[in-house]
């Protein structure tokens, strides 16, 4: 393989007709460049859109109650009903595959009026009554203090975890936050922690302006009895929430005496399904990128194969001489294969390098111009580059194979015949 004479010869052959070699190499170069750019663009789009999902656990559904539309078991239609706190235990025992079940209650919301007061400052925020598990479903970084814990739930402590956005609005710069009190709809809560969410999409600002208090304290303070606003349910890894949601809904229907065929009484949103839909879209995009890229690459490879055939044709006599001098057929085959491989890999590497440069350029352009909607950090992973290299090696061998076969079919006697 690393034989000086062999490589010398490969270079001699490939440099004997520069123009032709460069043109041939360009086919492969172009193919791999297109492949890399397509994959990087797909990845950029994917990164951009996935950023909208933030850090939320994606194997999650949200479920809430609406009005019944069918009379059932002596109960009229158009009946209002609520999930209850004990539903959590019911679901937990019925569905061991569930990882987190978080009942939630909420105050405030879109265009809500001011509901939080601290001294002379006021603000309008979303206030959630939550169980400690919610931090796993809607991840946030605790920047100081702590999050809600089970003792808070058990003792119905009036404590609150507030977002950095709330801190910025209700507190002076550098003021101590932990241990202070804020008044939520007239009820005092002690701040025990602050958080910052990572999501970097358009809702980022809003995400920092939330207040989390223990579910039980929330219910007591704001007279929610044992009602539940909605629930966030996450399944364990390995089970998709999509496969469970029908059963969950019917269990809840049964428990709340809702007609089994009442489609409207319980509403839900399956994040996992949405995520999968997006995921399969990206899958399709990746497929198209590979498909188009590999086809373009293939035409480049056919070019290489063609040129190698011509080279073999041109060198028929030379190959005949070599064989008369005693060169083994496999050695000739190896020579042709190596030439093709060398040409393919060199031009492919140039294509990969060019693609990387291109991605680098786009990235620095994106960095300079600030975030663009639905497009972020186009890139190809090392795996893809390795894959491209493997494709190159295989295609180089493929491109060389037919010419190599035709080279060893050259009979020395035919090649040497004085025409």
């Amino acid at each position: 393989m690393f034989n000086r004479d062999r490589w010398k010869e490969i270079l001699e052959v490939l440099t004997s007709n520069w123009f032709r070699t460069v043109l041939t190499a360009f086919g492969v170069f172009w193919g791999i460049l297109i492949l890399i750019i397509l994959l990087a663009a797909g990845r950029g789009l994917e990164n951009g859109i996935k950023a909208d999902f933030g850090d939320i656990a994606t194997n999650t559904m949200f479920i809430w109650t609406r009005r019944t539309t069918k009379a059932y078991k002596g109960l009229p239609k158009d009946r209002d009903f609520n999930f209850k706190v004990e539903d959590r235990e019911v679901l937990r025992t019925r569905f061991p595959q569930l990882r987190f079940i978080s009942p939630r209650n909420q105050l405030g919301g879109f265009r809500g009026g001011s509901n939080v007061v601290r001294g002379i400052k006021t603000g309008a925020y979303n206030i959630y009554g939550d169980y400690p598990e919610i931090i796993n479903q809607d991840p946030m970084g605790i920047t100081s203090g702590r999050f809600i814990n089970h003792s808070d739930i058990g003792e119905k402590r009036k404590v609150a975890v507030i977002g950095e956005g709330v801190v910025a609005e209700l507190y002076e710069q550098g003021e101590e936050v932990l241990g202070t009190y804020i008044k939520i709809q007239g009820v005092n809560f002690m701040v025990v922690g602050t958080y910052k969410k990572k999501s970097n999409d358009g809702d980022g600002e809003e995400g920092q302006k939330q207040i989390f208090v223990p579910f039980t304290s929330f219910s007591q303070a704001f007279n929610r009895a044992d009602n539940v606003g909605w629930m966030a349910i996450t399944a364990k890894d390995g089970t998709s929430i999509t496969s469970l949601k029908e059963q969950i809904v019917s269990v809840l229907k049964e428990k709340h005496k809702v007609h089994p065929e009442d489609q409207r009484a319980i509403g839900y949103f399956d994040l996992y399904e949405q995520y999968n839909r997006v995921e399969s879209l990206f899958g399709a995009m990746r497929f198209i990128a590979y498909f188009v890229g590999i086809l373009v690459l293939l035409s480049g490879i056919i070019g290489v194969s063609n040129i190698m055939l011509i080279v073999v044709k041109e060198r028929t006599k030379e190959i005949g001489i070599r064989r008369a001098l005693g060169e083994q057929p496999w050695s000739i085959r190896k020579q042709i294969l190596l030439e093709s491989l060398f040409l393919t890999i060199i031009s492919g590497m140039a294509g990969i390098a060019m693609g990387a440069l291109f991605i680098y350029g786009v990235n620095s352009l994106l960095d300079a111009s600030g975030p663009v909607d639905m497009f972020a950090n186009p890139s190809v992973s090392l795996g893809v580059v390795t894959g491209a290299l493997v494709i190159l090696i295989l295609s180089g061998l493929l491109a060389g194979f037919i010419p190599a076969q035709s080279a060893i079919r050259v009979k020395p006697i035919d090649a040497l015949r004085n025409e």
Partner: protein, 234 residues
């Protein structure tokens, strides 16, 4: 050194079968210098191709240095050619992008001789044919006679048992032809067995034995008094 018994060869030309060699028998001892003569179509090139293992006979035996040459795979033929035979062609057949020295070293490369030894040997043989100063020239920079001498050096480099020369002077003027024949005679004087295919009487008479071929059979096989080519070379 070479023994051939009842060699037959025919070519399929469309629906016709062309019987080229119709039972050839001959023996050549070590150190002989044999001319194979015949008009075109007499089968002399076919015979040389078979002797050179570039082609295979239909029937008959071919024994080279005690080894029966039969059922040759391409790989085996290549190995035998490399080990037993040196070729000199009418059209020189040097590889045009390799220097004289690289051309001479080529058979040694196929014998997996180390690079340094190859160069030393190639230079030695180039010196023998009087072209040491031209070692780093490409074939395109050499004259016809020089090219043929490089080709002879190449054929000798692998130290073959038999040197096969197919019209070695066919593309050369008579002065150069005699120079080349002088070289061939010198090589023969060192004890090498050489077969020369030619249709030129004067060239044939510079050998020690002439075999006449006509229509695929040997019509004459005689020892002659060798004419030294050096008489014609000043």
């Amino acid at each position: 050194m070479i023994e051939i018994r009842d060699l037959h060869k025919s070519y399929q030309m469309g629906s016709n079968s062309l019987h080229v060699l119709k039972g050839i028998n001959f023996k050549a001892e070590e150190g002989e210098l044999v001319a194979i003569m015949g008009s075109s179509g007499s089968g002399k090139s076919t015979l040389l191709n078979i002797l050179g293992m570039l082609d295979e006979a239909d029937t008959g035996d071919y024994i080279l240095d005690g080894v029966k040459i039969e059922k040759l795979s391409e790989t085996k033929a290549a190995r035998y050619r490399n080990k037993f035979l040196g070729f000199v062609f009418q059209s020189f057949n040097l590889i045009n992008y390799k220097t004289a020295m690289e051309n001479v070293a080529l058979p040694l490369y196929y014998q997996k001789v180390s690079r340094k030894d190859r160069e030393t040997k190639a230079l030695k043989y180039l010196e023998q044919v009087g072209l040491k100063e031209w070692a780093n020239h490409l074939p395109s920079e050499l004259s016809g006679g020089q090219k043929q001498r490089v080709a002879i050096a190449r054929a000798m480099a692998a130290e073959p048992k038999v040197l096969l020369a197919d019209e070695p002077t066919g593309a050369l003027d008579s002065t150069t032809s005699y120079e080349v024949m002088d070289l061939i005679q010198q090589i023969n004087d060192q004890g090498n067995t050489i077969l020369v295919v030619t249709h030129e009487e004067d060239i044939a008479h510079m050998c020690k034995r002439i075999i006449h071929l006509r229509d695929g059979v040997i019509v004459e096989d005689k020892k002659i008094d060798q004419v030294r080519a050096s008489e014609y070379v000043q």
